[in-house]
Amino acid sequence: MQLPSFLRGSLVSPFTLRKLGVLGMNARNVHYIARYNDRDKYPIVDDKLNTKRQAKRYRIPVPELIAAFETQPSRKRVMEVIEPLEKFVIKPARGSGGKGILVIVGRDGDEYVKPSGNKVTALDIQRHVSNIHSGLYSLGGKPDRVMIEALVDFDPVFDKYSFEGVPDIRVIVFRGFPVMAMLRCSTHDSDGKANLHQGAVGVGVDLATGKSCHAVQRGIRIEKHPDTEMPFADLLVPDWGDLVRLAASCYEMTGLGYLGCDIVLDRKRGPLLLEANARPGLAIQIANGVGLRTRLEHIEEMDLEQLEKNVDERVAYSMDYFAAKPLA
């Protein structure tokens, strides 16, 4: 079906998208999240403290937890915890969309330095803790818990592909099978944040090799990082096999059928699970230039025997089957 000419260019026909196997928000919610994610398993991923606990049980590496404040802590208690620390991250346990995360990368006298170079005082940090606690960043404004994590010692491989921020890798895992992966690189435009709609670069990563296969910023295909000018064609994620295996094992850990895993690379410890998401977004399709639906439907058609494979078999299957097609 042809759209009216004035719409062509800005809109595409839904039939074309369907044919390309693109997954829409409504289909994601009805067919995948509602069908494969049990409500009672949500707390495991919605509360990052629970995720951490569960990850320990399944021996999945995570960033080290320094302290957690279950109740509103006194100022003294907050200071006791952060005083000896040079670098740390303060997070709400039930924050959504990366809201309320405060990263401190260093000290400057009495002040604390953020990745952007801006400085905050101890009072600012205490206020932030109190805000998190009152539920400002949590879904529905419910009182929240505060966690203080060690700052991940990022592997320098991505330094040239990221501006100011934290590069992380999102893997979509469907019924235990990794189906798609992307690397999110912050840019000057995105103000150091890794959200694609704010201008971060989404780099599609080939499941078979860990090599970049496609990169997009603000919906437009790019070849190199806009700030560092580094070509994405040279990008290779180290320890790729371990990383994909880690993502796949999150299926057993959470019990969620449709899952998004956010993974970072630590210089010494390798891939670490930052958080898991029961409602992963659809931007990964844009980053990869490929629709998710075809891949998900392929797994839905599997028989029971195939679905009962162990982690390594699933990873091997995915890396083989979902390998990026060589670009023409």
Binding site: L11, V12, K99, S130, S134, V216, I286
Partner: protein, 510 residues
């Protein structure tokens, strides 16, 4: 059964139920499907006047009988200083006013509202006496008059085939003033009315007959005397005749007050008594007519509904019933378009506020409060308050702002802005709080996008909710909420693309 099939079956059931109830209310109870339908309601007032003798006085007025094509919507009696009650007497209702001591001119009123419905006027059969009291023609009447009467009856009988045609013929003859026999009879019975004379002649012809008293419903008539119709028994049933024209059937707009029976008014302890009637017509919304007529029949669907609430609560419900419509708009815009708003159903609350304030005043006030609130919130955030305290502070600020807007605009003569109080304060405070977080984390552009999205949804919801058809349907047919529920369930099953996604994923198409 798969959840999807369940949704469709449930939605179909809900829709059928809602639509069925709506059709029943429309067809059987007369609730109009479209707004602005009017029905004519006649207000008939009977005024009883008499001069009291100074002692005990009692007046009894026969009340109208039930008539099939006239629906009585309500009646009122005025009886200043009189004891009043209604008694049932020989299949008739009479209003009785009584007073221990009355002197001078007395006026008593009985008023009723009727609404004309299509259909036959009278229901047969009626249990009335078919006995004929033969007039005593002979000793007292002159021979000539007697001859004239029988001659008329004889002529009419010759020119007719049955009782009906006979009556018609006879009445035509009686109305014809060139007829010598007729002139003779009327000359003799000078004091009698036409109907009295006709009754006498009919009795002479051995036909059971009585009079029907009533009124022709015409607008703005005052000091009317009751008019008479004739009703005769043709051996099987009662037939009504218009006496002067001789045509059968109850004339259109004839309101039957008394059928057969005795006097219309009896007065004891008074003189110069009489009843006069006045009639006026009002055009009343069809819904009100339906409400009035069903409230008397205690129709369960209406009796156990919002209409049984006091008027004040009803008007609140009028707004509340619009909320589902607003929710539907939000659902449609999110599922099919994919608009981002701040707070899922916040735009509905905004739209309700807009209904009260008018759109442009509402928009102006909302934007003003949001800007001022954000500004104050930024200052508050520097004071290191706890979150709950800070939001409470924003609530208080919003209230103060509302008060200030009201007072200032009132002094400036902009009365519209007084409606500012309709804005949901807590929601506004939370919106301000959320917006300021969005501002801090995602920048002012995102604030504009989200606030704009919310406002756009609110304006669309307002536009739908103020549509007069929507307003009419939600309030008069709350059953339609079931249809709406079914529809929302079906929409909840939509798994296609959103409009926004057609643009978002366009780069995937090469």
């Amino acid at each position: 059964m798969s959840p999807r099939a369940q949704v469709y079956i449930l939605a179909a059931l809900l829709t059928l139920m809602g639509a069925g109830l709506t059709i029943y209310k429309n067809v059987e109870l007369g609730f109009p499907l479209l707004p602005g339908e009017y029905r004519t309601v006649w207000t008939i007032e009977a005024k009883v006047r008499f001069t009291a003798d100074g002692g005990p006085a009692k007046a009894a007025l026969t009340l109208p009988r039930e008539q099939r094509n006239m629906e009585v919507l309500g009646e009122t009696f005025s009886s200043s200083g009189y004891g009043f009650n209604i008694i049932s007497e020989d299949d008739e209702y009479r209003a009785v006013w009584a007073k221990r001591q009355a002197s001078g001119l007395q006026s008593l009123f009985y008023q009723l509202d009727v609404h004309q419905t299509p259909g036959a006027a009278l229901e047969q059969p009626l249990d009335l006496s078919t006995e004929v009291v033969k007039p005593m023609l002979g000793a007292r009447e002159q021979e000539a008059v007697r001859q004239a009467i029988y001659s008329l009856v004889e002529t009419a009988r010759e020119r007719s085939s049955d009782t009906r045609t006979f009556t018609s013929e006879l009445l035509t003859a009686l109305a014809d003033n060139r007829n010598q026999d007729r002139n003779l009879i009327f000359g003799y019975y000078k004091g009698r009315s036409f109907v009295d004379t006709a009754l006498l002649v009919l009795a002479a012809a051995d036909i059971p007959a009585h009079r029907i008293r009533g009124l022709y419903l015409e607008d703005d008539r005052r000091r009317l005397d009751p008019e008479d119709l004739l009703e005769i028994y043709d051996g099987k049933r009662w037939v009504v005749f218009e006496p002067l024209s001789g045509s059968p059937g109850v004339p259109k707009n004839f309101f039957i007050w008394q059928r057969g029976g005795k006097s219309l008014l009896d007065v004891e302890g008074g003189r110069n008594s009489g009843v006069t009637f006045s009639v006026i017509s009002n055009d009343v919304p069809a819904r009100d007519v339906a409400m009035l007529s069903t409230s008397q029949e205690k129709e369960a669907l209406v009796d156990f509904s919002i209409y049984s609430l006091p008027i004040e609560q009803q008007s609140i419900f009028k707004l509340i019933l619009l909320v589902p419509v607003g929710a539907l708009v939000v659902v449609l815009l999110r599922v099919f378009v994919g608009l981002r708003t701040s707070g899922t159903f916040m735009p509905v609350l905004l739209a309700i506020a807009f209904i009260e304030t008018q759109l442009f005043t509402g928009l102006a006030i909302f934007v003003l409060i949001l800007i001022l609130g954000l500004w104050i919130r930024f200052y508050l955030s520097r004071l290191n308050l706890l979150l709950v305290a800070r939001i409470a502070a924003v609530v208080v600020t919003v209230v103060i702002l509302m008060g200030a807007i009201s007072v200032v605009s009132y002094k400036l003569g902009i009365e519209q802005a007084l409606t500012v109080t309709f804005f949901p304060m807590i929601i506004l405070a939370w919106t301000i709080e959320r917006m300021s977080i969005v501002w801090e984390e995602d920048g002012p552009y995102e604030v504009v996008v989200q606030a704009g999205g919310s406002l756009l949804v609110a304006v669309i919801a307002w536009w739908v909710m103020t549509n007069r058809y929507i307003e009419h349907w939600t309030f008069n047919f709350p059953e339609l909420l079931l249809v709406l529920l079914g529809f929302i369930m079906i929409v909840g099953n939509y798994t296609g693309f959103r409009l926004g996604e057609l643009s978002r994923f366009r780069q995937l198409v090469r």
